[in-house]
Amino acid sequence: MRNLLEIKGVKKRFGATQALSDVSFTVREGGAHAIIGENGAGKSTLIKMLSGIHLADEGQILFDGKEYRPRSKEEARAAGISTAFQELSLLPNLTISENLALPRLTNGLLVSRKKLEEHAVQVLHTYHLSHLSPRDLVGKLNLAEKQKLEIARAFSHRPKLILLDEPTAALPDPEWLFEIIRAEMAKGTTVLYISHRMQEVRELCRYGTVLRNGRSISTFEMDQVSDQEIIQMMVGDNKGVLEDTGRRRAFTATDPGMEVRNLSGGKLRDVSFTLHKGEILGVAGLEGMGQNDLFRILYGLREAKGGTIAIEGRELKLRSPRDALKAGIGFVPEERKTEGIFPGLSTLNNVTASSLKRISSFGMITGKREFGQSAEYTVKVELDPKYLGRDILALSGGNQQKAVMARVMMSDAKYLLVFDPTRGVDVGTKAAFFEMMRAYADEGGSVLWYSTDLSELVHHSDRCLVFYNGRIVYDTGSKRFSEAELLAYATGGQWEGESSA
């Protein structure tokens, strides 16, 4: 088999982040090739580069023997590469037939609905989606159907190489996809398959490449390596061994803080766990496994479909974040820029926004109290008080986060929900953040936190829950655990290493 795609020493930087630092591998023509890696390993950047959305800073890509450097999606498609994106590129207010025909739509002056529909019927039939009507608006489809349409559209351009980015993330029945992929491969199409799920990768792909921290670690034939070996490559050489974190406190049933029973909603399916007083409980999971919904439900941003949440034996009804705050639950959200801060207000106003009652007398905010009381909390989170008077947008990402933390702590929250706190944050700030979290727990507060960085979870949690497809598939308990162990369960597998210490 000849080489269809050759990637040589490709690098890409976004501002301060080196997304790809050295990627080189070769994809053979025909068959499927998997790209495997943790969150943030560089898979998405690589996909976008091959799709014509980003340009490589350095390195060379050969496709079909020719230099390949697409500047737009159209150029990529003309060369013979098309992509089904994970964040879908469908337009909700257009019909299925219009979406399938974008951006060409027509060769003449007017768009012929009839021609678009004829084309759509054919495409839908080819990809076993005949139950969909070409006239329906895409916005009316559920997520799984949208994902199928995105995939069908990518295939319908008859590419030589198709890129599938986490195609099964929203599919309840991956068999549909596998059938299509096999049929297309039989016709000679090559597939680059990006997935976290080891089982799928094994079922479909003959070759695999592991990415880690923006580097290609190794390319191999799938049946030559074991899951365990692949996981080792994903996490790095020494991380399979157990590391002592210095903090593994055992908690007993006598100090239940927050009890979650049979919780469902969104992607969550029947989730039960207890968050003890003073405990730092980590949540591990690949993107879209339900952890997002868990945090949103616990903070009253999303309605639960079933199950109960109780704090110190008292059952809660969480209809809004206001209810959650009253129950003593605070939330540090992931996207500080969009969810966490009030841009344009001063840092001081940002810190006190949840505790205005405390700092006002007779409904008026008193400046002295506002400053005095918030200073106490800014010291706790190690935010220099000199920032209080400034616009929060003038602060660095790390300091913005400290301000959000100070706000949550000032609201007297006994239970802290922290969602991916370290994404895009520098090392010093990370260390300060973990110290802060520990001090908070030592004073009796409880923390439930999610991080995409598994090694952080290993180092800074008392215990860890692993989510897969909306369920808790593994609870580490109070014993020691390793990054590789978490990853094995997070990818839908088992771990047979030395774990029960």
Partner: protein
């Protein structure tokens, strides 16, 4: 099962802004007719179309910009500017008529191009950019004509406001023509792109749509419609008036909203806006006919707008509920 299909047909009907505005139009029309005036006389019909035509054309233009998720305040400015330009430079006779038409199209095109450039290529928020061009346009109008006056071609002021064969208002033909132009635009590639961009600009880029060019073109096209609205407005007033056009601008926005076009972009269409303009005109006449003081007109116009938008919002609410119970 049958019931749920019937339900969904209802929700899709009330989510269709054109249908809602048509229903409101019929209701207002019945009230108007039952007020006992001679409604179906050619004089009365001619009057209704003449009073609607400028508002309707301007509303079609604004609909385009709203559809791509933009905002355009320059509509009033272009109207006033076109008006004083015709009254000052238009000239007499048939040649004056066509020269005037050329002038307003150019005026709208230039202002629209400036708007489009500022918004698409300099990334200025459309509400700010068009606020600027609106004020500039009104300023230029004052420089050209400091006080009301001027004359326009009598062919413009007489023939375009009359009725053919004694019963067919010329203004109604012009509205029909504008509606056909819209239906044409909607069926071109450009038209589909407008809807796509209004719904999701990022996804549109990913789908390979030339977003910047389409946005620019939309503002230019809208400007031309505003110029034509100024042309028909001038035919009505038969003179130039440089004073501010705030009220007119608000009515244009109201027409679009009543017509069911979502201000967030990507949903709606210009036929609804034309009907919306008709509703506002008809409402004024109805209130006058039943003897309500004109001081109350604004109150009713505002209420109709809120009702129309509420009915549109109801469908979103209903379909959400259905999803949850399903």
């Amino acid at each position: 099962m049958m019931k749920s299909i019937a339900n969904s047909r209802w929700t899709s009907l009330i989510s269709n802004g054109t249908f809602v505005s048509l229903m409101i139009f019929i209701v207002v029309f019945i009230v108007y007719a039952s007020a006992g005036k001679a409604v179906f006389t050619s004089f009365s019909m001619n009057n209704l179309f003449n009073n609607t035509v400028a508002l309707a054309i301007a509303a079609v233009g604004l609909t385009l910009v709203i559809l791509i998720g933009g905002f355009d305040l320059s509509v009033g400015g272009v109207l006033v500017l076109s008006n004083v330009i015709i009254a000052t430079y238009g000239g007499e006779g048939v040649s004056g008529l066509f020269f005037s038409l050329l002038l307003v199209v150019l005026t709208g095109l230039i202002v629209g191009a400036v708007n489009g450039f500022l918004v698409s290529y300099l990334n200025i928020q459309s509400i700010a950019a068009t606020l600027g061009t609106m004020i500039v346009c009104e300023g230029i109008a004052l420089v050209i004509m400091p006080a009301p006056g001027g004359t326009v071609s009598t062919i413009l002021s007489r023939n375009l406001t009359s009725a053919l064969f004694g019963w067919l208002p010329v203004a109604s033909l012009i509205i029909l023509f504008v509606a056909l132009v819209w239906l044409f635009i909607k069926r071109t590639r450009f038209g589909v792109y407008m809807y796509a961009i209004g719904a999701d600009e990022r996804a549109s880029v990913q789908a390979g749509i030339p977003v910047k060019r389409v946005k620019f073109g939309t503002f230019v096209l809208a400007g031309i419609f505003y110029g034509l609205a100024g042309f028909m407005h001038t035919a009505q007033t038969a003179s130039g008036d440089p004073t501010s056009s705030m009220i007119f601008m608000l009515l244009v926005f109201a027409s679009v909203a009543i017509g069911g076009t979502a201000f967030g972009g990507g949903k709606g269409g210009a036929i609804g806006s034309i009907i919306g303009a008709g509703i506002l005109t008809l409402l004024q006449k109805t209130l006058f006919a039943v003897g309500v003081s004109s001081f109350y007109t604004n109150i009713f116009e505002g209420l109709i707008l809120i009702v129309a938008v509420l009915i549109g919002g109801l469908s979103v609410f209903l379909s959400k509920r259905r999803e949850e119970t399903a």
